[in-house]
Symmetry: C2
Subunit: 327 residues, 2 copies
């Protein structure tokens, strides 16, 4: 049997090129070597979007379409919706007994997210406890490999702490520790060049953007503000167009030569933006074509089937857990 991998996204918006380079293209490759589960984490999305549930519901379908359009194959990958597997909530409740409030408060990922989101003293308990929810996600499907960025490593650590504590207290060994598959890909910067591309900042190129929108966003990209005339030497550093060319242009030599010309002077922003636009259009066109074949009903069916099959596995794990915690 292929080793099982769990990954996923919070359905808080459509997926964009940052997701593509950061995780999606990796998943398309991983599904051939792993028994891949991709979870649409709507319950987790509610922990900081609890007052915008309609937003989340809407994006479940969009995210699923994004997956299928980039080449996630439902015959190789199990797609599932978190909220439809209530056993995860049940397991979370039992795991909450095995983690202290102090330990949760020291989680570096949660700490930095609390700061980012500006919760201050108003930290929702659900958000604070979400690493425990993640431990339930991972272990209920007996996933042993988790693709993560370095900033998510504390989550793996927390999960394994819970696993060890559970196995020790209840003297069992059926919960398995998991390991990170560290993603080396740096996060893609947003078109404004200021921060990473995110769903919330509106500075991303979505996989589902139309050709016109893509072109428009490319031409809005931050380049070198001192590069006023075509003949001026331009800077590559922090120039978003070159960042994206590095990420998406397949001919690395051509990109290197463009960089030299730009730094020397004589290569205009319009020219490099046109080249990037062609590159991205070429990249995204087949995804768009694939997306157009996706009927809503079919996508829901894929989600339904994946969720049903994942739930069977979750029920099996929960049955074991209930037996050992004695209820």
């Amino acid at each position: 049997m292929r080793p099982r991998i769990l990954t996923g996204d919070r359905p808080t918006g459509k997926l964009h090129l940052g997701h593509y380079v950061g995780s999606l293209q990796n998943r398309v490759a991983l599904q051939n070597r792993y028994d891949q589960y991709i979870m649409i984490a709507d319950v987790q999305a509610l922990t900081d979007h609890f007052n915008a549930p309609q937003q989340i519901k809407k994006h479940i379908l969009e995210v699923a379409k994004d997956y299928l359009s980039v080449g996630i194959d439902p015959h190789k990958t199990t797609l599932l919706i978190q909220s439809h597997i209530p056993e995860i909530a049940e397991l979370t409740i039992y795991y909450l007994n095995l983690v202290t409030i102090g330990r949760l408060g020291r989680n570096p990922t949660v700490k930095s997210e609390i700061q980012q989101k500006g919760f201050k003293d108003e930290i929702p308990a659900g958000f604070f406890c979400y690493p425990v929810n993640q431990a339930a996600d991972i272990t209920i499907f007996q996933a042993e490999w988790i693709p993560v960025g370095a900033d998510q490593l504390p989550m793996i650590e927390q999960t394994n702490e819970i696993v060890r504590r559970f196995n020790r207290i209840y003297q069992v060994d059926f919960l398995k520790e998991c390991q990170a598959i560290l993603s080396a890909t740096p996060r893609l910067v947003g078109i404004d060049g200021k921060s990473k591309a995110t769903k919330t900042l509106g500075n991303a190129i979505y996989l589902s953007d139309s050709p016109e929108t893509i072109k428009q966003k490319v031409f809005q990209m931050y380049t070198d503000p001192n590069h006023l005339k075509v003949s001026d030497p331009g800077s590559i550093e922090g120039n978003v167009v070159f960042t994206y060319l590095d990420a998406f242009h397949t001919d690395k030599e051509a990109v290197a030569s463009l960089k030299k010309d730009y730094q020397r002077g004589g290569l205009g922003d319009v020219t490099i933006k046109n080249i990037l636009n062609d590159t991205l259009q070429h990249w995204l066109a087949p995804m768009r074509a694939q997306r157009e074949t996706l009927q809503e009903k079919m996508v829901w069916e894929i989600l339904h089937e994946g969720t049903q099959s994942a739930r069977k596995l979750a029920q099996k794990t929960m049955q074991h857990v209930r037996e050992v915690v004695g209820v």
Copy 2:
């Protein structure tokens, strides 16, 4: 339809006379006027007994037998096991988003329990969050009346805060606030006279104690350490035998007269202990007789049926909740 009431116990030990005067006799009366749900809160018991699950499993049956032996009537009262209604865990996860960590930390009941249990910095997250779990218990069964002691009022307040927040955020009104039925009965002191009778301190007379054990415990009771000779005047204050006579002897005048004699001098501890023993034996004998008619299989069936019927109600509420939180 009779208004619904929810009450219950953590199955961490057999029930004792303190439970009888504190809640059980009240429940026997309430079941005639209310649609009474009594929950055996095994999931909640795990929040501070997570490393002793077998203890809890064992006591589910004992507690149910205690209920039935004192006159809880399964035709009038729904008996249910919390862990068999996983929808409560699911609802708890959604409610956790509506409460802040700061608010939970200020809960006076939890604060004093944390101190009592000596958790210090090692507070299990499940224990810290248990008021949210209680809010889920209460609202999932749409219970509007909750019999509590004054020390539990913060729990009612927390529940109603969650109800109001949920209804406001999701613009619905199907979650109802609940009201306390305040129990005026003071907690029964333990036979050692030092603290309240508790399952854990072993200073309680259990409803299931044998006649011999009852007598033995009565004769161990703390009286007046300065009352050395029968002829000496004795003190009533803090004298456990008189506390129990006050609680269980039906002839209040006779008790008043005994107190006078004791204070004057000439009434010995053996005499009053014999009177109390007779009183308690008389009180507990019919419960013991009732208990002897209870077959284990029958008790499990009652629990199963009650839980099934309660689960239907919980599923209905959860269906509503899932619709409004959008999943």
